[in-house]
């Protein structure tokens, strides 16, 4: 078995230890004898997403956003929409998560068109939602408790047909209002959680791996790993919140 992962925009969307998610996926696949190929796809380069099983998009600075959107609107956006509808597994975090949505509206009303692959939108606010937080994934996304660190001023709202990834137990989540966190649409996992997400939440990591393998091979059983350190890190933070 093998998973081919496309890491989009590692050159600019790399703000909050997102590399850690790639390191984590690679290692957890390797430890189980499953092949893992990670393709870095920086701005300006092209690749056919149809060749990959999973796409990862992280979060970044505002400074490069314009360059990034120009690159997306040169055709990558259509390809991403097609891959999402095709059931490819996506893991998108913070800025990458917002970008999958329809648009971002700044608090003074300027609208910026995003990819439109998932029916959600984000509105800028004056307050920063920042800090360690915790949420429980819905059963359809594995049901595990996730700990992470959020740092965003955009408030995200989900459209019909898109369910949240989880319910906030502590912290802000999508918008600090409705207790929802992240989004789940087909095989897209979107969340505000960096920290980074996967190393400290091995259950969710394995659930995402399983989703991608099932899509590719029809079914997948993952051998258990000894997750002592991961669980300790998870519990230490979960207990504080």
């Amino acid at each position: 078995m093998e998973l081919k992962i496309c890491h989009m925009y590692p050159d600019v969307l790399n703000l909050y230890g997102d590399r850690g998610n790639m390191i984590c996926l690679r290692r957890r696949l390797e430890w189980r004898g499953i092949g893992c190929e990670i393709k870095r796809l920086p701005i300006g380069e092209t690749a056919s997403l149809a060749d990959y099983d999973m796409v990862f998009i992280g979060g970044g600075q505002d400074f490069e956003q314009q360059v990034l959107l120009e690159d997306l609107h040169r055709g990558k956006d259509a390809e991403i929409r097609a891959a999402v509808e095709d059931g490819k597994t996506f893991l998108t975090i913070c800025g990458g998560y917002q970008m999958l949505g329809n648009y971002y509206e700044t608090h003074d009303g300027v609208r910026c068109d995003f990819i439109g692959a998932v029916d959600l939108y984000t509105v800028g606010s004056d307050t920063r939602m920042i800090g360690n937080y915790k949420y429980r994934c819905l059963p359809e996304s594995g049901g595990s408790v996730v700990v992470g660190f959020e740092n965003h001023s955009g408030k995200t709202y989900l459209g019909r047909g898109v369910s949240p990834l989880g319910q906030v137990l502590s912290g802000f989540g999508n918008n600090g209002e409705d207790k929802t966190e992240g989004a789940r649409y087909k095989n897209v996992f979107g969340t505000y959680s960096h920290g980074p997400l996967l190393p400290k939440n091995p259950e969710l990591c394995d659930y995402i791996i399983k989703t991608a393998l099932t899509r590719k091979y029809g079914s997948a059983e993952l051998a258990p790993l000894s997750d002592g350190a991961e669980e300790l890190a998870h519990e230490t933070m979960a207990d504080k919140l």
């Binding site: 909050y16 997102d18 390191i23 600075q61 360059v67 190393p199």
Partner: protein, 539 residues
Amino acid sequence: MLPPVNVYGKKVLNVSSDTINIPVFFRTFNIKMTINVSHILPDANIWSDVACPLQTRPSYVKITNYAERKSAGPEPGIFEVAMSISVFFACLLCRLLRGAARLLHRGGTAMPGRFALKLCPGLLRVLARNVQTVAITGTNGKTTSARMVEEAFNEAGLDYFANRSGANLISGITTEFVLNSTLTGKPRKKYAVIECDEAAARRVFGELRPKVAVVTNLFRDQLDRYGEVTHTLENIREGLKKTPDTVLCLNADCSLTSSLSLDLPNRCVFYGIDGTAAKSRTKPEISDATHCIRCKTEYEYEYVTYGHLGGFYCPKCGYARHRADVAVTDIVEHTADRSTAVMDVHGVRKVVTVNLPAVYNIYNAAGALTAAVEMGVPADTAAAALGAFKCGFGRMEKFDLGAGGARMMLIKNPAGCNQVLDFLREISDSFTLAVCLNDRSADGTDISWIWDADFEKLRDMDRRVKKVIVSGDRAADMLVRMKYAGVPEEKLSMETDYEKLLDELARRQEPVFIMPTYTAMLELREHLIKRCGGAEFWE
């Protein structure tokens, strides 16, 4: 209606054609000034426009910088008296609080200044006015660079003071100035070496008006506190805007830092490492500045020293590395204890030994040398100081622990941490590593940066890594990081009790390297000093 103005940092209640009402000590003084208020700019800060040293010429205050520069001499007297009273009581309060803090065995480095500033918001400006200051800001290397400048001042016999304790916000800087002034606000020393937090720079620089300012570099750092690195750059730019006479010493190799020269009127002196002394020609994998600060086109590089530092240029708009006035042209020796570099100092070739290892300290040395020369220290004197220099306070600080000794190397952000790892890769010794990760506000509450730091480098030195011990409030997160970095399980352990940790480190036969975050460094140092001796942090 007249525009609001601030006088001496206080909000003026109202301004009529010839009087200004200013609140001082619960009373409102009516200060008669013969200024034409129509020339007051909106939000003008009269305090910043008083261009005359209070103490030396108390009878005359010149007011300039109005729309038409119609200066007028207000009547002497109550204006200065009010300010002098305010300065006196603020200084007194500051000293009392400091004394009390010391009685309680606290550092008392920032708190007294904070209260003094509440009493007299313009205090720092008054105290800094007659002191020739070199201010150092930037993400990494502030403390080390400041110490190097100090060493050069010592060598040159200059009478100076410094905020050595790491209290580098406006409060801590104010405390230091109060302690080095008389109660009436006269300076006791002619020079100051001031390290300034990059987020505080916005406010501090205008008050301090340093003669020379060094900006070391800019990297992503404590995103929860500073935000994006471009915001930090903006903070520094805003601060420097208020002090156009300051000479700027800028790191030519950092595209963010050197962009300060683009729109500030200040005289700029550049320092950096030339391509002849750099090893790598490839673009950095992790960079905090990939796209041109001016036109957002991706940078190209002639060479890279580390992170995003090097011979950058923008293929579109032409923004490129500025030629360095103080340039490292060759690095001739590189050991675990020191480096020797050839530097071109304003056209004169000098061989400089830096009594600290690692490339980033060569940058610190070049920056300190540049600043010292601008402050009037002869280049040879400054260079000699770098060879005798001993750093402390967690920056490559040596402790007499165990058979092989210990070095403490503070880590704060990915760029700095990668530099420390590069240093470990270049030495030849076997070693034990202790990594202590805290997530208190001074460390940054977001610890995701440990995944941007390239701990995978440890795999390249696997044979020399004897043991890795993780510690600190977030030890478990570090444990996970080390596990995924590929540190073998049998070499990896966790110990959150510092005494036990030091017991274990003291038993090691090989040299020990401790990599703590800021607050972990403070705590560990206390424990280490009890065991091995050394100075308290404020000394």
